[in-house]
């Protein structure tokens, strides 16, 4: 166990963590603001990358590829929202249906291949694992993703302060009250799911560029990583009184911590194949803590 091996791996872990932090902000919107567990993201975390890589391979510029990835993610969120609200399917099941359907769609997008690679030397990528070291500062992936996060948080901070953004937050907080105040909670739920999945697909587009390929399995377990980042941010920073912008920043930071911890346990000798089991176990424990605490205090937990 050479400490240098770990240290050289850390910048990459930070970059990946930040990209997953963007994804986690998307999860935060549904899980925390809307109070919905949306499993669509396991599909959209692949879709965004597939769209982005395929468009770039066809010669479209990276900004357009990412914008389209965002829109396609929103479309996936719309389908889940439609199934949930207008078709009356429970949110979890609606997400699973979308996610399953997306698997086929993702393969179609990738020309029926499970993997599509893009060459960092031939294409103008925004982020890449090659842009971590020995590149000019303005090309550095960590910096670029950090700037993207700041811009994203600024936009979300503005949006959730608008009338429609407030209506989305109210829907998550108290749907009955929202309807009594004239809010169409079906519409606000759909909007929230669209925004969330758009952000996740955007993160997916960045992640595929970073890795240098789009992969059909890219989204497997994405919801667990997203939740892990959200939960880490709450455990570490939940006690701090902070406004919405900082809460989102903490969520992104939760993604970074998740990847740093991951890097350390890998360095300590954990088999990479066991990672998903470990992640699932950790998230399960943290999700259970509020419930168990409530039980211990004598009340019924509702976590």
């Amino acid at each position: 166990m050479n400490i240098m091996n770990l240290l050289t791996a850390l910048p990459g872990a930070v970059a990946q963590g930040l990209i997953w932090g963007i994804m986690a902000i998307g999860v935060y919107i549904t899980y925390k603001l809307l109070d919905l567990a949306d499993l669509t993201v396991d599909g959209t975390m692949c879709t965004g990358g597939a769209v982005c890589i395929m468009m770039m391979l066809k010669g479209y510029p990276v900004w357009l590829a990412l914008a389209v990835a965002f829109l396609v993610g929103m479309l996936a969120g719309f389908v889940t929202g439609f199934l949930h609200t207008f078709m009356g399917i429970p949110a979890i099941l609606a997400g699973i249906l979308s996610q399953l359907g997306l698997y086929s769609i993702n393969l179609r997008i990738m020309d029926n291949k499970a993997n599509q690679a893009i060459n960092v030397d031939k294409y103008d990528l925004l982020v890449s694992l090659r842009y971590i070291k020995n590149v000019p500062i303005y090309q550095n992936t960590i910096l670029i993703v950090a700037v993207i996060i700041v811009v994203l948080i600024a936009i979300l901070y503005w949006f959730f302060g608008t009338e429609i953004g407030s209506a989305i937050r109210a829907t998550g907080s108290n749907p009955n009250m929202s309807r009594a105040q004239g809010i169409n909670t079906d519409v606000t739920k759909i909007l929230g799911l669209m925004l969330s999945n758009g952000i996740v697909a955007f993160a997916s587009g960045l992640y595929a560029q970073y890795q240098g390929f789009a992969d059909i399995n890219a989204g497997r377990g994405a919801i667990v990583i997203g939740l892990a980042a959200v939960i880490i941010s709450q455990v570490l920073f939940g006690k701090i009184q902070s406004n919405f912008a900082f809460k989102l920043a903490f969520v992104a930071f939760g993604g970074v911590i998740y990847y740093l911890v991951l890097q350390v346990v890998l360095w300590l000798g954990l088999n990479a194949n066991d990672l998903k089991l470990v992640s699932a176990a950790i998230v399960a424990v943290f999700l259970a803590i509020p419930h168990l605490n409530a039980k211990r205090k004598g009340g019924a937990g509702n976590a």
């Binding site: 302060g161 109210a170 907080s173 009250m177 004239g182």
Partner: protein
């Protein structure tokens, strides 16, 4: 202002739990009417308010608010005409949002919501003024999360939210029942002040017969989904609790043996 024309509602139709909650209910309210509603459990009091609010659609009959037929209008669209306060203090407010944010949501009831600011500086000043009518000191706590307020404070806030944008009809569903007597009295006083100020057409369900007599210009008693007693004006003012009890026994042919109908 409000016309309920022979409305029917049956829950769980065709099952063993079938319950005819509303049986051809007729009710007409003039503008400015403040009607109190009493009746035993399962009389259809809350069901009536839910029918007006559009929580679900009625099976038969029509509902007209201020000349507009809303029988088939969705709940969130009908909300434009209605202010509602529920029995459970948790129901009427968004706990994770601030007092001023809750008020701002209520101020936009019945308006399309877009990308304008969810709350403006001018509104904040207005809310500070409007909160004073509650006499609870909430005007000093605009940015407090509503979840941190007591049940009575939340109920009073819900009342203000329901009336911030003058509703065609104010629906109060036992809105003081979950509060301790002192707080309940305060909320009821605030209700009276607000209803008087804006001359609101109001329907208030209560299980307290004294309150039902003391407030409003009209009183109705419900039983098995119908109105069995309807009294207004001077006649109502002269009522006593024992009159109501007698009326109930006469009309329903049964004892008012219901601990929810408190006599104090």
């Amino acid at each position: 202002m409000l016309k309920l024309n022979a409305i029917y509602k049956t829950f769980n139709a065709g099952t063993v739990n079938e319950k005819a909650a509303l049986n051809g209910l007729d009710l007409h309210l003039a503008p400015g009417d403040f009607v109190t509603v009493i009746g035993g459990n399962g009389a259809g009091k809350s069901t009536t308010l839910n029918a007006i609010a559009g929580t679900w659609f009625v099976d038969k009959g029509s509902i007209v608010i201020d000349g507009k037929d809303v029988t088939r209008l969705a709940e969130h669209k009908r909300a434009a005409f209605l202010g509602r306060v529920f029995q459970d203090p948790m129901t009427g407010t968004a706990a994770s949002m601030q007092i001023e944010e809750n008020l701002a949501l209520a101020a936009r009831r019945g308006q399309p919501r877009g990308l304008r600011a969810g709350i403006t500086a001018k509104e904040r000043e207005e809310y500070q003024e409007s909160l004073k009518i509650l006499e609870l000191g909430l005007e000093e706590r605009l940015t407090t999360k509503v979840g941190l307020l007591s049940g009575g404070q939340r109920q009073a806030l819900t009342l203000l939210m329901a009336t911030l944008k003058k509703p065609k009809i104010l629906l109060l569903d036992e809105h003081t029942a979950a509060l301790d007597p002192k707080t309940a009295a305060k909320v009821l006083e605030a209700t009276e002040r607000i209803v008087q100020k804006d001359k609101l057409t109001t329907v208030m369900i209560t299980h307290n017969m004294k309150d039902a007599i003391a407030h409003g210009n009209r009183l109705i008693m419900m039983h098995e989904g119908r109105i069995i007693y309807d009294v207004k004006g001077e006649e109502k003012k002269g009522l006593h609790v024992k009159d109501l009890l007698a009326k109930f026994e006469e009309a329903s042919g049964s004892e008012f043996a219901n601990d929810r109908m408190m006599l104090n």
